[in-house]
Amino acid sequence: NAGVTQTPKFRILKIGQSMTLQCAQDMNHNYMYWYRQDPGMGLKLIYYSVGAGITDKGEVPNGYNVSRSTTEDFPLRLELAAPSQTSVYFCATKGRATSGYTFGSGTRLTVV
């Protein structure tokens, strides 16, 4: 039982490049979330999904896009990478009956 799997663990992008951060879960949780964590700061919500086919913006969605075609996967897309997107990105899930989130181990992204 893998829980929440994020790939890649590390990535360096050049300004203007694009990439997709992958998040997969095997817990059959309906709710999935993408957060970013900047140094010395708390987690900020980028996008979230309450089920397949339903997504919505969080606190800091600009520069990102998501899709949720299946319960298991919730990829985060960066179209035109900017230095301000240098951060650690965490995917999290939550089931209806669970108390808190289950987090992945994170993707550390550097945009240069």
Partner: protein, 115 residues
């Protein structure tokens, strides 16, 4: 805007002592709070939660206290161990449009356990 924050960004305690990590919140409508622990290089892990109809909840070596009058939350760790060294976040429940729960996180407190 309304936010969750922490009084102390860093806390150093001697091994075996008790630790108290504080958190202030400003959204009086929040009804559910969670403490997370984040070890270096890992994602946050659930420690303990508390609902607003309670003022205290105990877990294994941890206790969360909620004071709704002053909008204050604290996490107490008994007999602090080296493995407790981490960043601790309090998170406040906030509902979004589709009624999916979202938690607003504070900036965190780094706990360092001294030998």
């Amino acid at each position: 805007g309304e936010s969750v924050g922490l009084h102390l960004p860093t806390l150093s305690v001697q091994e075996g002592d008790n630790s108290i990590i504080n958190c202030a919140y400003s959204n009086s409508a929040s009804d559910y709070f969670i403490w997370y622990k984040q070890e270096s290089g890992k994602g946050p892990q659930f420690i303990i939660d508390i609902r607003s109809n309670m003022d205290k909840r105990q877990g294994q070596r941890v206790t969360v206290l909620l004071n709704k009058t002053v909008k204050h939350l604290s996490l107490q760790i008994a007999a602090t161990q080296p493995g407790d060294s981490a960043v601790y976040f309090c998170a406040e429940n906030r509902l979004y449009r589709y009624y999916g729960q979202n938690f607003v996180f504070g900036p965190g407190t780094r706990l360092s356990v001294l030998p």
